[in-house]
């Protein structure tokens, strides 16, 4: 683990920024955290770490950007995100709303893919 390529480093940084954001908000009780599980579909590459904890006021667009960075997608590559393997939430939808309506066993499962999968 002594050597890290710059790309690995970048992934860690993205991860760290996600974690540190949680820690930073620990003090305020109304900031809830939500467990999400990211699953690939179709030809999408898998993510080494699938389970993440995010602030509940994060938007879906932010999660899409996060996955794009993690997977190092080119700017012309698309990324779609689905709930319940049925519908694609709007980028400004809050993670909390989706969690409140569609979580199972305390987690919100989101499927991602590089082509439109459902509808």
């Amino acid at each position: 683990m002594s050597e890290e390529s710059p790309a690995d480093q970048e992934v860690h940084e993205v991860g760290d920024s996600l974690q540190s954001m949680n820690i930073a908000h620990d003090a305020s009780p109304e900031k809830l955290k939500i467990d999400i599980l990211l699953k690939p579909t179709g030809n999408a590459p898998i993510m080494k770490k699938k389970k993440w904890t995010v602030d509940s006021d994060k938007k879906i667009g932010w999660i899409i950007e996060f996955i794009r960075k993690y997977l190092k997608l080119e700017s012309n590559e698309k990324l779609f995100l689905y709930v319940n393997q049925t519908f694609a939430p709007a980028p400004d939808q809050l993670v909390k709303n989706l969690y409140d309506c569609y979580s199972t066993e305390g987690k919100l499962v989101l499927h991602y893919c590089k082509t439109q999968a459902w509808g």
């Binding site: 667009g61 709930v83 319940n84 049925t86 519908f87 694609a88 939430p89 709007a90 980028p91 400004d92 809050l94 709303n97 989706l98 409140d100 309506c101 569609y102 439109q116 459902w118 509808g119």
Partner: protein, 263 residues
């Protein structure tokens, strides 16, 4: 399902008078363009009704900007194209103003940080269909929308786009039915709008004791600390004792969601 068809039609026919004006700083012509007046359906989306608006103003801006994406603003706030027009109005229109609704048109400096772009009408369609599927997940575990054919989806979309009530409702009727010998949806698809976004939760139309739950019950659940909260939809304030199932069947927008603006 809906026995009160009259109400469905009244809601469908709700329109708003809008006066569009090009932002004066973007006028590159010696002449000031005339304002553009339009009656628009409350249930529609701005990208579906503003082609004419763009055509009217495009000749007055710098030619290099004429291909840029148009965006709309009211009271300093960019309008989200993916909210139905009636929702934007109920949410934003200043009570001290009188109609028409004065909206500023821009073809420059798209506010990417605040609203997102729509490259074409297909994007509006795909967002609309996605909402409809989400609503069906809540009502029927997604079984009805999931078993529909592409032509049914097209008919819903074309019905909305072309303002054809019968065409739309011939298919939407199926989405508004209840299944499995019950008179109720599993959950009520709704969004409660506050100033900076909306809230969604799982709310059932029927209580554990079998009684009909009402708008008051929904609001108690969404805003437990605010007993006085009221909501507006389609420009009206529904009585708090309205049953949720009836509300969902009759006052939902075409995307099958109730859009409730906190006033």
């Amino acid at each position: 399902m809906a026995n009160d068809r009259e109400i469905l039609r009244e809601i469908w026919e709700g329109k708003l008078p809008i006066c569009f004006r090009l932002d004066s700083e973007e006028v590159a012509d010696v002449r000031e363009p005339d304002p553009f007046y339009l009656m628009v359906p409350r249930l529609s989306y701005f990208p579906l009704v503003t082609d004419k608006v763009k055509r009217h103003f495009v000749k007055y801006v710098d030619s290099e900007k004429s291909e840029q994406e148009m965006w709309l603003e009211y009271n300093g706030q960019p309008l989200k194209w993916h909210y139905p027009i009636g929702v934007l109005f109920d949410l934003l229109f200043d009570k001290d103003e009188i109609l028409p609704w004065n909206i500023t048109v821009h073809l420059d400096k798209f506010p990417d940080a605040e609203i997102f772009r729509f490259s074409n009408k297909d994007m509006v369609e795909s967002y609309f269909m996605s909402c409809l599927k989400e609503a069906d997940v809540l009502k029927h575990r997604g079984q009805i929308a999931g078993s529909m054919q592409k032509k049914d989806h097209n008919q819903l979309w074309l019905g909305l786009q072309n303002d054809k009530f019968d065409q739309f409702w011939a298919v939407n009727r199926k989405l508004m039915e209840t299944t499995n010998d019950t008179e109720y949806f599993k959950y009520i698809p709704f969004r409660c709008y506050l100033e900076n976004g909306y809230k969604q939760k799982l709310v059932k139309p029927v209580g554990d004791n079998g009684s009909k739950r009402t708008l008051q019950d929904l609001l108690n659940e969404m805003f437990p600390d605010q007993p006085e909260v009221q909501i507006k939809t389609h420009g009206l304030i529904p009585p708090l004792d309205t049953p949720l199932q009836w509300l969902s069947e009759h006052l939902s927008y075409p995307d099958n969601f109730l859009h409730l603006c906190v006033v």
